[in-house]
Structures are given as C-alpha cells and as structure tokens.
Amino acid sequence: MRDSSLFLKQLLFVCTSIIFFHSAQADEFHYNNILVGDRASGLAGAYVAVSDDPSGLFYNPAGVVYAQTANISANMNAYTYSRTKYKSVLGGQDWIRTSSALVPNFFGITQPLGPGTLGFSYAVTDTILEDQDQTFNDIPRAGTKYTINFNNQDATNNVGPSYAVAIGNKFSIGLTLYGHFRNQQQIFNQSFDFAEESPDVYHWENTYVSLSEKGIKPILGMIFTPFDKISIGLSIQKTFLFSSKLEAQSSCAGTFLTESTAGSTCQPSEFNRSEFSNEEEREFPYIINTGFAWFATNKLMLTWSLWIYEPIHETKNPLFNTAGAIEYYFSTSFAIRIGGYTNLANTPDIKENAVNLYNEHVDIYGATLSFSHFTRTSAITFGAAGTYGSGKAQVISGNSLTQDVEYQGLTVFLSASNSF
C-alpha cells in the first residue's frame, strides 16, 4: 500500500505536469512550425529574398512588387502530422503524442494599386489538433490501469493587408500588418485504477483550458538588388499582444489520496472543482529574417535564409534558424524545389539532475520537396516537408528526472495559384 501511495503521487505529478506541458508546447518552443505558401514551402521557407508572389506577403512584403503578373491569388491546403515520443515516462513505458490536422494553410492575393502593390493574406502559422485515447497497463504492477483522454486544439492565425512599393529598380520596401489570433481549447480527462487494491482505489481528474490571444504583427520588409541576378532580402517582425486570456477549470475525485499533491487541489473521497484565470500577455521576440537569392537562369534559382530571434525563455543568446533551397525547371511547365531548414528550440538546454523551468528542448531539422505544374495562368503544387528532432524533456514537473524525446513530423500540401 505504501508503494502504491508513492507511485500514485508520482503519477499525479505526471498528470498535472502533462497538462502544463501541453499548455506550453508546440509554437512556444519553436518558431518554424509550419511553412507557409506553396513555392515558399517547397523552398523550405528560404523566401525572404524571393517573395515575388502572395506568400511573399508573409515572408517579406517588399517582394510582391516584383510579381511577374499583375494580379495573383494563391491558396494552399496542408495536412500536418506530428509524433512525439517521450521515452520511459510511465513505469518505463513511452508516452507518445500525435497531432494531425488538415488546414487551409495560406491564402493571399496581390494586385497593383497606385504606385505600388496591395496585398491581403491569411496564414495559419501554427496548428495542433491532438485527439488522444491512450491506456497504460500494468504500471507499476499487474492490473494497474492509467487512461488518458486528451483533446487539444491550438491554432494561430495571421490575417491582414500589405502594401509594397519599388523605389527605383534596385530597391523595394513593404509592410504587412497582420492581426494575430490564437485560440486554444484543451480537454484533458485522466483516470487510474488499482484493480488489485481493496477497497478499490481510483482517481479521476478532468481539466479544461481555454486560451485566447489577440494582437498585431507588423512585418517590415525590404529587397535590394545590388547586382544582376542577385537579390538580398531583409524583414523585421514582432508580435504585440493587446489581450490574452487563459481560463482553466479542473474537477477531480478520488478515494486514495491522503494529502494534496503539489499543483493539485484534489482531496480524498470528495468531489473537487477549481477555476483559474490569467490575463498576462506573453512577450514575443523581435525576428530578423535575411537572406539572398541567386537567379542563375530562368530555370535555376538558389536561395538561402537566416532567422535571428531575440532571446526569450531565459536564454541569453539569440537563436538562429536557417534554410536553403534550390528551384529547378525541367521545362516551362514543370518545376521541382528541394530544401532544408532548421527549427531549433528556443528553450535552454535541459539540465540533468536539476529542475528545469522550461521542460523541453528538442531541435528539429526538416527537408522539403515539391513539384509544380504550370499552365498559362494557373499552377498546381504538390509537396511535402518531413521533420525530425531529438532532445530532452522533463515531463514530471518539480522532479529532476529527464526523458529522451524523439520527434517526427510530416506536412503534405496541395496548392493552387491563379494569375488573371
């Protein structure tokens, strides 16, 4: 019985920490979670110096003045899947989280207006849709059952206008003013049952979390053409929140606990309910995106980008991500794009034998491949981005135990664009 008590306490720590872990996961620990736009996705996001179609409104609005046709619209739908394995979390068993979602990733339209080019775009910069039903058996002894029912929907959308002008034929400048909207809803239901205990020992807990963020995200961009066939791009952006509201409700009941566990308000043998809210606005970093593109011929283009992020999450040094890609046309109707990129964690390294404030550090690397088929006024692009990452996590909050983490992701996208 005593052993069981210790294990239950540990398990509740796990459960409680899982909730917080989920709340802070995904976009907050990485920046390049979803590539935006058809051509840009195929080029692994190395688009700051290219940017000459509607997805440029997201990467560098200055580039849309170089669009080859006057009016363009583009639309991209993406299916994203991710699998994160936390090794040896529960009684030596792995905890696997998966997320999959089919989302309209991007829509953008540009058209000349006055001396410049006007644009309007919508981008889903991050999305998570987890719907998990997992049961862990025999932890730590035969008959013990721990069940998780978990649903987590978290999406960040950017929508807004852009305007760009060319100053001479060597330089252009543009501004996108995105509204930033993030909505998260999370329902976490968990129960465990020691079947062999008598009297019956159980614990049940349900948590609902709702998070809503509203803000603006201006992106100032410029493109400079110092030499023939060379383009240099630079953009600066930062998200400013003007409202943030986190609401949480937790209900629990159980028969076993003899004392309240840290972070839990559950008391034995009674139904407990609690609410929590927070309106603290999280701070976003300044992000500088720069790079160059070499338009070697009308069939071959090479591009490279670098992102520099202001340090957050108690890190001292700026974070860097990079991407590089090649675009090649087999003919006037078919093109292939191949790229690679990094999506490094913005959290400090997980320290062994210590309690870490930020409980995950997983560096992710991705590769992209896309094919486009062109007609006179239309283009269809089919592509995929595969990602892999590994690192450390500390799933049990308040505990110095660490776990190895393995991450795999796949995004498949289909997009269409029209010029008219």
């Binding site: 001479g168 069939k299 700026p318 269409a416």
Partner: protein, 286 residues
C-alpha cells in the same frame, strides 16, 4: 524580461543602411530593369489562346459601351457604312484576323479617335471634318487599328482568358480566388476608360501605332504620308480651338519627325499612292 541590447546595437546601423540603399537605388532610377526574376513558366503566358481573345473582346466591348455612354453616335448611316468600309479594308491587312473590327463615328466636337481591345474603333465627327481625303481617314483608322493589333491595352492591363485546362479546373476547385476576377475586371475597365479618354497611351505605344499605321496604309494602297499631313493640320486646329484639352498623344512634332524617319527607312516616302479625295468629298461633313 528579454534582453533587447543585442538587437538595439545592430539596429543603430539600419538608418545608415537605408540611406546607402536608397542612394544606390535613386542613382539607378532610370536604368533599364533586368527581369531576371522571371521564371521559365512565365514564357507560357506569352502564348495567346482562344480564351485570351474572348477575354479581350469582352473587355473591349465593355470599354466601348462606356465610351458610348459618354458620347452619342453620329446619326448618319451612310457615313458609318463608309467608315466601316475604309476601316475593314485596312483591318484585312492587319495581323488580327482573329477578331471582327467595328467602326463608328461619335457626335463630338473634340478632334480625336479611340480604340478598344477586341476591334472597336471610334472616330469623332470633328476629326473627320478636319480631313481632306480618304487616305487621311484611313490614316487615323490605321493608327487606331494598330493600337488593337499591337495589344497595347491588353498588355498593359494583362488581360487573359480563363483557362479550360484540367490544371485550371483544379485550381478553381481548390478555391484560388476566381471570384475576385470580376472585381478586378471592373477595376481594369475603369482604368482603361480613364486611360483612353484622359491619360492616353504611353509615348512608346503611340509611336509604335504610328509606325504600324504607316505600313498598314502602304500595304492597303493609301498614301503613306497622309498621317503626317493630317497630324500637321490638326496641330494647328487643336492649338487654336481645343488648346484647353489635355493632350492624349505625344507632341505632334515628335510624331511627324518619327514618321518621316520611318518612311525614309522603309522607303515609303516616295510612294505615290492615291489620296481618294473625290469619294471622300461625298461624305465630308460641314
């Protein structure tokens, strides 16, 4: 709290960078733009299709309706018939055998002529009144036909037809904003009407239309010098009675000098083709 010092230091150099870039840009302001960004698939857009011609006709017809909303037709059926005969005899020799040309006389005291994509040509009665022979009428009509055959408006407003290919069908299925086409079409018509009636064509387009008209006159059998002759006459008329109107063409002297140069280089300056003054006199306006 985030440490912002790392970004503030490099940001100090941003204004300097801007000044450097802007100064470089302005120094290159008039340099020829190298379109190295165009990708291989953009070559496809230069190919004309049946859908493009249909879109051009629809676009031009809409502009023509707008013009007729501002000017009345001159009520003289025989004159309209005559202008159409002359115009179509020229149009046969143009490069646009894929469209039907229509010619009409506007009841206006402005000396001018207009053409819209798809083959719609308008000439004012004041312009005809200022003419002395059929070759001058042919010269003005040839100039307007040239704007159509060279697709000046079509190119400027990038008028293209909707594709009926499988790829285009899929893009529509994926919702790539075909609905916005109507809005853009209306806006393009507005801009094209403004261009025709107020702003005028680009100088390079006007001079190209003059050159094409010269060749068209010669190939149809009219006096190639008729355009220069007519331009010289209306220059005086416009200066005296229509000086307040905003010019929609390049300076007349420039046009006449350029025409003379082209006529010499194409060896058209000594051709003695007919002016057809007697037939024209039957329809001349008082």
């Amino acid at each position: 709290m985030m440490s912002s010092e790392w970004i503030r230091k490099p940001l100090r150099f941003v204004p300097l960078l801007f000044i450097l870039i802007l100064s470089t840009s302005f120094s290159q302001l008039w340099a020829e733009e190298a379109n190295f960004r165009a990708r291989a698939h953009h070559d496809l857009s230069t190919v004309n299709s049946v859908e493009d011609v249909e879109a051009e006709i629809k676009f031009g017809k809409t502009i023509a309706a707008r013009i007729l909303g501002q000017f009345s037709l001159y009520e003289d059926k025989s004159l309209h018939h005559y202008v159409n005969l002359v115009g179509n005899s020229l149009a046969i020799n143009s490069s646009r055998d894929d469209i039907q040309f229509h010619f009409a006389v506007l009841d206006s005291e402005l000396i001018n002529a207009y053409s819209t994509p798809g083959g719609y040509v308008f000439i004012t009665k004041a312009a005809i009144r200022a003419m002395q022979d059929e070759s001058e009428l042919a010269a003005v009509l040839a100039h307007e036909i040239a704007h159509i055959s060279q697709k000046h408006i079509v190119k400027e407003f990038k008028i293209k037809g909707s594709e009926k290919s499988a790829t285009a069908g899929v893009t529509r299925l994926l919702g790539s904003s075909q609905s916005s086409t109507k809005v853009l079409f209306t806006k393009a018509v507005d801009n094209a009407v403004k261009k025709l009636l107020s702003v005028g064509f680009k100088e390079i387009d006007e001079l190209e239309a003059d050159k094409t008209a010269l060749l068209l006159l010669a190939s149809t059998g009219y006096d190639p010098n008729s355009l220069s002759r007519y331009l010289g006459r209306i220059k005086k008329l416009k200066t005296s009675s229509h000086g307040k109107h905003k010019p929609t063409h390049p300076p007349t002297n420039t046009r006449i000098n350029t025409l003379a140069h082209i006529a010499r280089s194409e060896q058209l300056d000594n051709l003695k083709f007919p002016r057809v003054a007697i037939r024209f006199a039957k329809y001349s306006l008082k």
